[in-house]
């Protein structure tokens, strides 16, 4: 391999300090809380599971007159503590479950600083007048958890994804305790949406069996997670371990799973690799198992792809037959059911099984009560609208998966894309705080009408902004995603709300036509990750995906999580990080600015087919097998920019996030003071993007717009390093970008 093809890691060589390594391994689950159709509390869940009594009942909270389906797994509201009830069911469920988790972990007795307790909150269709991120903030305030509060909203895989990120926050030292899980309440609009999509069965949900169709549910589940040594130090016995997780995107359809199961398979392989487990180690799979015609065979194919021969003798069951489909809370509730059974030396059953459907698991554990069967390691599957898959591996208390040291891979900022419709390029650049001389380097302009080779029908404005910014960023990075690289290219999106256009379309269809005839296509677009899924489908990003919100400006949080995934995980080599703002028709266009922003990160591939070696300042996507396609010069004439450090901290703690990023960057401190063009060195916000009253004009995209401008300044040689920081109110984040030293270029 010639010098030009050496990887950045090889160039930078072995001089990395050992602080760049990360210890990866299981984290302990030390507390549990659950609210579901079978009652409030972990004991109620275990009783129902043990006795095989499902929580699916006629719906009484709202009228189902005219619908063909009348049942769901609804929480009996009188099982919640009366004094804790608010008008917001999803919040009530969350508070009840999270409190139970904290109590069962005996956290009050622990001496953990509040700022070291993080919350990762998964929710799908919950609403809050100020944005769904408020649920995590309220729970954090009530429980005294003042570390980062991250809200994951990937529809029905939300809480599984949240648990994975919770583990990351512990392993990365951002928090000492993480309260991770999720909550969702069933509303008549959600019920009507699923009904009109033809997904519900009038009978009870009977996964892998006849009749097909699912039953909706609701509830909340939370885990208290800690590093094993911390738990041991305070004498807390692990209930189980979270040893790994995997994320992927089907990039196939808004609501239907990829029937080949490849997305599910990728997530499962990612989870196994993260946990350091083999297919042979897995004793049980708790399936997503919605019971629909599309899900069950696709999921089974995914399990077969990931586990191979092992799958043929593997028990695979679905807890949705017990609880209904708990939406964003489904992942965590089903994981809790799995580990409750594990604690009792059993595996959860699939209820309501009549006769097997073709192309479904060989052993669906079709019986009334749990099956006695020791489980050391289990997979818990979730998948969702938007094609977002999340799979978590859990271990029995006495069988934690092995820990290992992972060397940090160098992460590069390869490109950026901006879309600023409604204003001309120069004005758009000024809004981003970019000087006019950068015009021509910074792509900015109206949203194109089309994208080559992509059918954009059904893409709402938010999806278009996200998609064009992402396509532009990939172009800027010189990456054309082909073949297997697509499977290793992911998309993390930070959004503040769903598309106002789609929200209006759904609302008006309900107002004008009634719930029975609400717009099914619009319904599929009102989950926060709908635009992420659309973007991933258009650009074919099939690697790890998430959609998170911290209110406004979660872009840097997403960037930190993406950088982390590249540096310490093995399942992606390219990560797109994107945000977008769509203006509501009722909002003042003179004070708000529609924007899409995306940055592309890359890491030298663990696989030989992806390399980002530096060669004369270009990103080179070299290739041993011809699979990854031809490299193009990306940063031609400019510097190669490295993401040198990153950090997260709780709200109001930007200095801590910056300190963490600086410590991680290490050698930045040995350099001349940060070159910030004469200012403080901290990129808080561009003057043009903030109006006179201090309001940000593109609130969601703001941090990534700033990142894009910073990249171009670094490339233009105006700076050698930049510290970007943002405090979104839920979470503070900081990122350090630095040019590779000129002498090594």
């Amino acid at each position: 391999m010639g010098a030009a093809h050496r990887t950045a890691a090889e160039v930078r060589g072995s001089g990395r300090p050992s602080s760049q390594d990360s210890r990866r391994g299981p984290v302990a689950i030390t507390g549990l809380g659950a609210v579901s159709a079978v009652g409030s509390g972990i004991d109620a869940l275990w009783r129902a599971l043990r006795e095989g009594i499902d929580g699916i009942r006629p719906i009484t909270r709202f009228s189902t007159e005219g619908f063909a389906v009348h049942t769901a797994g609804m929480v009996a509201l009188d099982t919640l503590e009366p004094d804790k009830k608010t008008a917001d069911h999803a919040l009530d469920f969350a508070l009840t479950a999270a409190r139970e988790a904290v109590l069962s972990a005996r956290l009050e007795a622990a001496t953990v600083a509040p700022t070291r307790i993080a919350i990762v909150f998964g929710t799908s269709l919950a609403t809050h007048p100020e944005g769904i991120h408020r649920l995590a903030e309220i729970v954090g305030d009530q429980l005294g958890a003042h570390g980062p509060r991250v809200t994951v909203s990937t529809a029905c895989s939300s809480s599984a994804n949240a648990i994975g990120f919770g583990r990351d926050l512990l392993l990365d030292g951002v928090a000492d305790v993480v309260i991770a899980g999720g909550s969702d309440a069933l509303t008549e609009e959600i019920f009507a949406g699923f009904h009109n999509l033809g997904l519900l069965t009038p009978a009870k949900c009977a996964p892998f069996s006849d009749p097909p169709g699912t039953t909706l549910g609701e509830g909340a589940g939370f885990l208290v997670l800690e590093r094993g040594d911390d738990a041991a130090r305070r004498g807390a016995a692990p209930v189980a371990w979270v040893s790994g997780y995997g994320l992927s995107c089907d990039a196939y359809h808004a609501t239907s799973p990829d029937p080949t199961g490849s997305g599910m398979g990728r997530a499962a392989r990612g989870a196994l690799a993260d946990a350091g487990l083999d297919a042979a180690d897995i004793d049980y799979v708790n399936a997503h198992g919605t019971g629909t015609e599309a899900n069950d065979p696709a999921e089974w194919r995914g399990i077969l792809l990931a586990l191979g021969e092992r799958a043929s003798t593997l028990p695979v069951s679905s807890t949705k037959s017990l609880l209904g489909h708990g939406q964003g809370a489904a992942g965590v509730l089903e994981l809790i059911a799995t580990l409750l059974a594990m604690q009792h030396g059993a595996i959860p059953q699939t209820l309501n099984f009549t006769r097997p459907r073709p192309r479904c698991p060989e052993d669906p554990v079709a019986q009334r009560t749990p099956r006695p069967h020791a489980v050391a390691h289990a997979l818990c599957n979730s998948s969702a609208f938007g094609g977002a898959n999340a799979i978590v591996t859990i271990d029995a208390p006495d069988r934690p998966a092995p820990s290992r040291t992972v060397q940090r891979r160098a992460v590069w900022l390869l490109g950026a894309g901006l879309v600023l419709p409604g204003i001309d390029t120069v004005a758009g650049l000024a809004l981003c705080g970019a000087p006019e001389r950068l015009a021509g380097r910074l792509p900015a302009g109206p949203v194109p009408r089309s994208l080559a080779g992509v059918d954009l029908r059904g893409f709402d404005p938010l999806s278009r902004l996200l998609t064009f910014a992402t396509a532009e960023a990939l172009r800027d990075a010189g990456l054309s995603l082909r073949g297997p690289l697509r499977d290793r290219a992911g998309l993390f999106a930070a959004l503040s709300r769903i598309s106002p256009t789609s929200a209006h379309e759904l609302d008006s269809s309900v107002k004008e036509r009634g719930l029975l005839r609400l717009s099914a296509p619009a319904f599929t677009r009102v989950v926060l990750n709908a635009s992420t899924g659309a973007c991933a489908r258009a650009v074919q990003l099939r690697g790890p995906t998430t959609t998170l919100t911290t209110g406004n400006g979660g872009g840097l949080v997403a960037l930190v999580l993406a950088a982390n995934a590249l540096a310490f995980r093995g399942d992606a080599d390219v990560m797109c990080v994107a945000s977008a703002d769509e203006i509501d028709r009722d909002e003042p266009a003179d004070r708000l600015c529609e924007a899409g922003a995306c940055v592309v990160l890359g890491a030298d591939g663990a696989e030989p087919h992806v390399r980002f070696a530096r060669a004369a300042g270009t990103a080179r996507q070299g290739d041993a097998g011809g699979a990854a396609g031809e490299a193009r010069a990306a940063n031609a004439g400019g510097a190669f920019v490295r993401v040198a450090g990153w950090g997260l901290a709780g709200p109001g703690q930007a200095p801590e996030a910056m300190a963490r990023a600086l410590a991680m960057a290490g050698n930045v401190g040995e350099r001349p003071p940060l070159d910030d063009g004469g200012a403080s060195g901290v990129e808080h916000g561009g003057a043009g993007l903030v109006d006179e009253g201090g309001a940000v004009r593109a609130p969601a995209a703001h941090p990534l717009l700033r990142t894009a401008v910073a990249l171009h300044r670094l490339r233009a040689g105006e700076r050698t390093s930049v510290l970007l920081a943002h405090d979104s109110g839920s979470c503070a984040a900081a990122v350090i970008l630095e040019c590779e030293p000129r002498e090594t270029r």
Partner: protein, 159 residues
């Protein structure tokens, strides 16, 4: 051209225009309405509709033309092309004018008489067995059964 034929052609054009407009406005097809050829397939490589859109298409047709469609009305026959949708609307109208309903619409006869739009979504499903109810809304089962080329997904989502 006889006056009758002339008036049929004019009416057919009018219905075609309304179907095209519906496809653009309600189904977000990204074309100028008058560029949508009647022979264009609705699904797959044609207009790219999928099973989720099929649900909306049924509701939109009912709204636009005052039809009362049984849940299985839009079978493979009708769902093929834009022109087939127009045929369906015309034959429905002709049958209603003649006081009968054409083959394939029987299931909606009661609903059509009730004047309640909801009768289609509700009443039309009542006779279904549990096994059939997966296709409860809208032709999703039929679309899948028609064996359309790639791009047509089965109506079930996974969430």
């Amino acid at each position: 051209m006889t006056p009758d034929l002339q008036s049929y052609v004019t009416h057919r054009e009018a219905v075609l225009d309304r179907v095209r407009t519906l496809l653009v406005e309600r189904l977000h097809v990204e074309r100028e309405p008058d560029t949508i050829d009647p022979d264009t397939p609705l699904f797959g490589t044609g207009l790219g509709l999928d099973s989720v859109d099929a649900v909306e298409l049924v509701v939109s047709l009912e709204d636009t033309f005052g039809l009362q469609l049984p849940d299985d009305a839009l079978g493979r026959r009708v769902m093929r092309t834009v022109g087939k949708l127009v045929d369906m609307v015309l034959s429905y109208e002709a049958a209603v004018a003649a006081g009968t309903l054409p083959e394939g619409f029987e299931a909606s006869a009661e609903g059509a008489g009730s004047g309640e739009p909801e009768a289609v979504g509700g009443g039309g499903t009542e006779g279904l067995t549990a096994g059939e109810s997966e296709g409860v809304r809208a032709g999703t089962t039929n679309v899948a059964a028609a064996g359309e080329p790639e791009g047509v997904e089965v109506g079930n989502a996974e969430q």
